[in-house]
Subunit: 296 residues, 2 copies
């Protein structure tokens, strides 16, 4: 029977916790490892960045990215925050639907999909390869400023060639949904208990989401850092994914300071599953303290 270990599967990648009376479920979407390009962090050396990855147990010369969304059950609704890569990602990704099912939720039960920003790993799961919507009964909520930027043809025409791909992806994902998508503003409670927080810099309209119930609050901080094991500890480091590096750093510090001061539970899209914990400020940056796992 010892062979059952070798044959055994990993535990499913979901984790439930409570915020007041709301149930939140961390959902693992997968891990991607690829070569780290020179200049990934323009304001640090390749060696410094490699050392930071190695210190967290990742390959020194690779770019290791983990992806984790959230499901939120509030007021009788199941709300999904970010969709993962769906059927369009590389091997190692695309696990969100399986982990959602393991947590007992079928796609048709999702009544709202909230998008934090319009990068591929957050939006491609909106549709399936056959063109049908992955969550057929879900109203889709997007940051108004994100929509205004990415769906503006003048912005697309003015963008450098390398940046045009993402404009195309946005049209592929949202083109047929323009009439029905609900655009939320910053500081708007757009669903009961869910309030957007300005988090621009990484993209022009990125939003963090405060989730509040019965006097308790947590915050989904989206991509205020790429891998927080690296960028929480080196808060001044820019990454090539960040469209406005200066605003990215200001937003990162503002939101990490908010989390530390309020002792908020935070969930990062790019932290190790279950990707949720607390922020403490220290003399050189911040620490991410993983939240305690409770079986009940």
């Amino acid at each position: 029977m010892v062979d059952s270990i070798a044959a055994g599967a990993q535990a499913p990648g979901f984790y439930r916790f409570k915020v007041g009376e709301i149930e939140v479920i961390a959902l693992h979407e997968g891990v991607l490892v690829r070569d780290r390009p020179t200049g990934f962090v323009p304001n640090a050396t390749h060696e410094e960045v490699g050392e930071a990855y190695a210190a967290a147990g990742m390959a020194r010369d690779k770019l290791t990215i983990t992806f984790n969304a959230l499901a939120v059950r509030t007021a009788g609704r199941v709300v999904l925050i970010d969709t993962g890569l769906g059927e369009f990602g590389p091997p190692g990704t695309g696990q969100l639907l399986g982990n959602l099912a393991a947590a007992g939720i079928q796609p048709g039960e999702v009544s709202a999909v909230v998008i934090s920003h319009f990068h591929a790993d957050h939006i491609l799961g909106v549709n399936r390869k056959d063109g049908q919507r992955t969550f057929p009964n879900a109203e889709i909520f997007v940051p108004a400023k994100e929509w205004d930027f990415w769906m503006d043809d003048a912005q697309m025409d003015a963008a450098p060639e390398a940046a045009k791909e993402n404009f195309g992806l946005c049209r592929q994902v949202f083109g047929k949904l323009a009439e029905t998508v609900r655009r939320y503003a910053w500081d708007e409670e757009f669903l009961p208990g869910l309030t957007s927080v300005r988090a621009n810099g990484h993209t022009p309209g990125m939003s963090a989401i405060r989730i509040t119930s019965a006097g308790e609050t947590m915050m989904f901080v989206a991509d205020i850092t790429n891998n927080p094991l690296v960028f929480v500890r080196h808060p001044e480091w820019q990454a090539m994914f960040d469209m406005d590096p200066v605003e990215t750093i200001a937003t990162r510090k503002r939101i990490l300071d908010m989390a530390a001061a309020e002792k908020l539970r935070v969930s990062f899209y790019h932290a190790p599953f279950p990707a949720t914990g607390y922020i403490v400020k220290n003399s050189s940056g911040y620490e991410f303290l993983p939240a305690l796992w409770h079986a009940d």
Copy 2:
């Protein structure tokens, strides 16, 4: 079907990872929350300690302790490192066997049980309430120095009254096993790939365990800290569970320094499940960086 979320159980508390060719499985035993006694950390104020717990998302005036063992599959054996509280713990604990089963391992398949030290939460799971051994086919490995101390009646007689209870527990757990228990020395490779490391202070004979395979190494660090979310960040803080506070701090720093210098994956018995990650030294102490979760 939305009710399936409320009704749904937590994901099982096991997590598999590889060390070389060895499979290691983190096993959640549970969480205990009780009032934190005044003087829990004799060399810090109650307020400072409360602030440290609150910063990590735990109740300010409680003592929150999480318990996590390891299973290791090496050379055709399943080795369990520490047993949890078995059938003798308070509500919230005693989950180890269920999580072991979720990972596909029945108690009869465990061929070795390795004990790090002789505190109740590490040894009570050796036997069941009916007096039978929980892992009937397992050889039991204990630190020789731990055995020499706790099983010595002269030490028991000389101990303060409050300390006598643990001597009694040791006799309850190991009394019938004296002839068969295998006592391992520090720095001994007592099973293929498993080598003990001196970690005394918390108890006189506590041992960490280095696990090595195919050029890769990790270390189970047992109780070099109680809750590492607090004591890794405050490495000078003593806890009332530590029998020799000065030696405890020296051991803690020696092993955390070793982990940081060698970039070793470590597993803490008292960290949040899956309780495994990496150590980085900073200007005021250390940071615990959770390891990346991989589904494969």
